[in-house]
């Protein structure tokens, strides 16, 4: 029964992906049921951009559901909600008017809320609470923005908005943009609206985390693309600047938070924030180029953003599934209790390594291609003749480079501490490999990471066509042949296929030469060199905390770590130490400077407001009278 439901989800995912492919290829249709509900009823439409996101959702749902067959097949709870979740996500990009969109959006949020809360653990419940508050704050912004637009344009259909947006006063467009952007950015996990993300994603079962991180937050990106380039027409330059700055901050801060996080799934959740940041850097570049009337470069930035969206869906889903397999096999998410899993879980380890290399943007995998494209877009900033915009681009270049370096460091930690060396706990020593269904799910995503890395020449033109459709510009003429991708003519070119072939040859040739020469045949196994000490134990290994320590010290203005040292000495002499406890927690700038003051202000305000809640019926009648009078006077 449970399996059947997941098989259904696989089928649904495939269908959605096929429909999406048709949409990318140019099929469009509209389904309307106007009488069903007020405010224009239900309306669905397919265009290339929504087709792209359908492919994304379907493509991620298939491996995640196959994985769930092995991961959650004896867990009845949440199966139905899972299917609702996938279906409502598919409905979001298809929605063609405000009501349909908001319904699908809220259904998606509620379904994911239920999936987060379902384990019933204290941690999950409080995470789900934060998630519910944040997502509804976001929804309120969306609702306000959409109602405003509806009132101004006289229609709730998105197509009408695009047609009439240019008639809006500029402050109106900017107000609507700000409200909608806040709502979408909350879903996308843009810093500082990200607080729910690292709490909620780890609490859900791993196949759900994979979809939440891989796809659901991308629907926030979908919304940002729509408002930045489609619904509201061409806005002022500060929209693009805001998107890019938000991207830079999210990328750098996201990866910095991830570096000091030692809960494997929370670490991945912080990387989702980072990657949304990278996507937004590309999108912001696209928007700014679009406004500067440079369609080819706008398409480049846009294609980079979409490519990274897709790539992130592939490798982040893969990593979450891998983390789920680790949790399944060891019973913990704490990296400090792992280690040596590569020997007990070789398949999971290999899949996780591919995912790590992809997210660290190592060639020739997919993450590299999209970051490369983003760089090429940013490096051509001089074509825009506005120094302040150039400065933002330069910040983007430096921020992206720092982010990719730190992401590499973080995944050395994530893979190295989790899978290599000796197991740090009993449960890690007794870990077991994931089953066939789970391995299949991960295998599919490994293939996706490799294929997306090797085939940019096929993907980029398709993405550029989608962009051309959204921005209503002619698609680019020449992006190179089957082997090489050309960017802006002579400016830059890339062929991951050639690089991969060369890497393989350069791996094989020296190995073959050495083997033929008979070198390296005699190998002796012996213990790790430890200056002659007697026994190697896992306690001598570098821990995740130790690994992250240089970063803590280098970026101490960001982490503001607090050292807590607790030494318990023997009663006879303080030189005989019986126990040492060391903790070095970091503090979150966003929580300390934004949320905590805001929450305490809210509490203070609520305490003040309590005065009017006396419980006396007479008093309440007076309130009603006062309210009525006020309304009459104002009307």
């Amino acid at each position: 029964m449970v399996s059947l439901a997941y098989v259904l989800a696989v089928g649904g995912g495939l269908a959605a992906a096929l429909l999406g492919l048709a949409g990318i290829a140019g099929t469009t249709f509209t389904v309307r049921a106007p009488g069903l509900l007020p405010l224009g009823g239900l309306e669905f439409a397919l265009d290339p951009l929504s087709g792209f996101f359908l492919v994304l959702i379907g493509g991620a749902a298939v491996p995640a559901s196959i994985y769930a067959l092995g991961y959650g097949s004896n867990e009845r709870r949440g199966v139905l909600v899972y299917n609702v979740f996938v279906a409502s996500m598919c409905a979001v990009p298809l929605a063609a008017n405000a009501l349909t969109f908001l319904l699908a959006w809220e259904l998606m949020s509620l379904a994911s809320y239920v999936l987060v809360v379902q384990s019933g653990e204290r941690e999950a419940v409080s995470a789900a609470w934060v998630y519910a508050v944040m997502t509804h704050a976001g929804l309120a912004c969306l609702l306000a923005g959409m109602l405003l637009l509806g009132a101004w344009t006289g229609s709730f259909r998105f197509a009408d908005w695009s047609a009439t947006a240019s008639a809006l006063p500029s402050w109106g467009g900017s107000l609507a943009f700000s409200l909608l952007a806040l709502g979408f950015a909350t879903k996308a996990g843009v810093i500082p609206l990200h607080v729910w993300l690292p709490l909620a994603h780890p609490a859900a079962p791993s196949h759900v985390s994979a979809l939440m991180s891989g796809v659901m937050i991308k629907l926030g990106v979908y919304g940002l693309i729509r408002i930045g380039l489609d619904w509201l027409g061409d806005g002022p330059a500060w929209w693009g600047v805001a998107v890019m700055l938000a991207g830079i901050v999210s990328a750098v801060a996201g990866v910095l938070y991830a570096l000091v996080e030692h809960d494997l799934k929370r670490l991945l959740a912080f990387h989702s924030i980072e990657n949304v940041g990278i996507i937004l850097i590309g999108l912001g570049a696209g928007m700014l180029f679009h406004l500067a009337d440079l369609p080819a470069l706008a398409l480049l930035g846009f294609a980079a953003a979409l490519y990274h969206t897709m790539n992130h869906a592939a490798f982040k889903a893969l990593l979450f599934l891998g983390a789920g397999a680790v949790q399944h096999g060891t019973g913990t998410r704490n990296m400090e209790e792992m280690g040596g899993l590569i020997k007990r879980m070789p398949w999971t380890a290999a899949a996780f390594l591919v995912g790590s290399a992809a997210i660290a943007a190592l060639p020739p995998l997919n993450g590299f291609v999209s970051e490369w494209l983003t760089f090429q877009a940013l490096l051509q900033t001089l074509k825009i003749d506005r120094p302040e915009v150039n400065l933002v681009f330069a910040l983007g270049i430096a921020g992206l480079a720092l982010t990719s370096g730190l992401a590499m460091a973080c995944f050395v930690k994530a893979f190295g501490i989790t899978f290599l060396a000796l197991p740090r706990s009993e449960s890690a020593a007794r870990a077991h490999e994931a089953g066939g269904a789970m391995r299949t799910g991960m295998g599919l995503l490994v293939l996706a990471c490799v294929a997306l890395g090797l085939a940019p020449t096929l993907v980029v033109p398709a993405l550029a066509r989608i962009g051309a459709d959204v921005m209503r510009v002619p698609p680019p003429v020449d992006v190179g042949g089957w082997l090489t991708l050309h960017v802006s003519g002579e400016f830059a070119s890339l062929s991951t296929l050639a690089v991969a072939a060369a890497l393989l040859a350069a791996l094989a040739l020296p190995a073959a030469v050495l083997a033929l020469a008979g070198v390296g045949r005699r190998r002796r196994l012996y213990e790790t060199w430890g200056c002659g000490r007697l026994l190697q134990t896992a306690r001598m290994e570098y821990t995740a905390t130790a690994f992250a320590n240089p970063f803590k010290r280098i970026f101490d203005f960001f982490y503001r770590p607090a050292t807590q040292l607790d030494i318990e000495a023997h009663p006879e002499s303080r030189f005989f130490v019986t126990r040492i406890e060391y903790a070095n927690p970091t503090r979150s700038l966003v929580e300390d400077w934004l949320y905590r003051p805001a929450l305490s202000a809210l509490h203070r305000g609520a305490r003040r407001a309590r005065a009017i809640q006396s419980g006396s019926a007479n008093l309440y009648l007076i309130y009603i009278l006062a309210a009525l009078l006020a309304l009459l006077v104002l009307a």
């Binding site: 002796r524 012996y526 213990e527 060199w529 200056c531 002659g532």
Partner: protein, 171 residues
């Protein structure tokens, strides 16, 4: 930087000519030293120094080898930081009880083919510490030794001559 350069040019090269070809005081043990070792390590020998309980007299003299006067690097000899990188263990001191196991493990951690050279009178047969309750004996009592450079301590010159004789290098 400029001052450094000036000093360098004013001082020139102070490295002394290598010691005469015949081994000053090398005691070769066993038949392993010979053509094979000369062929393999004649031009490059990486040395890991192991202190198995020495009084640090030998270490002082060994430290002199890397300085400008004796400069063992000109012969392709080089001290390394890990036995994994080493071809030769240069063991000093009487092997104490506490260091015996560490020495054994260092020996095992060194990839074959390898040479073990015991340095100093203590390395040869525990010297004046022979018979002490804290001492196992000479280096040869713990790991197979290929050569001994005696002396208390051997001078850098003697050390250099011994090392060169082991690798069959006639300067």
């Amino acid at each position: 930087m400029l001052r450094q350069l000036r000093t360098a040019f004013r001082t020139g090269i102070v490295t002394e000519p290598p010691p005469p070809g015949e081994a000053l005081a090398l005691e070769a043990l066993g038949a392993r030293l010979g053509e094979e070792i000369h062929r393999r390590f004649g031009r490059s020998l990486h040395i890991r120094q192991v202190d198995a309980g020495s009084c640090n007299g030998c270490e002082l003299e060994i430290g002199g080898l890397t300085g400008p006067h004796y400069d063992l690097e000109r012969f392709g000899l080089h001290f390394v930081a890990s036995p994994r990188h080493a071809d030769c263990l240069l063991v000093t001191g009487p092997v104490t009880l506490n260091m015996a196991e560490a020495l054994r493990r260092t020996y095992d951690a060194t990839p074959d083919p390898k040479i073990v050279i015991a340095v100093g009178d203590c390395g040869r047969d525990a010297g004046i510490f022979r018979g002490s309750y804290a001492v196992v004996g000479g280096v040869a009592d713990v790991v197979p030794v290929d050569a001994v450079i005696p002396g208390c301590p051997p001078s850098p010159r003697a050390l250099l001559a011994g090392l060169l004789a082991v690798i069959g290098r006639t300067p």
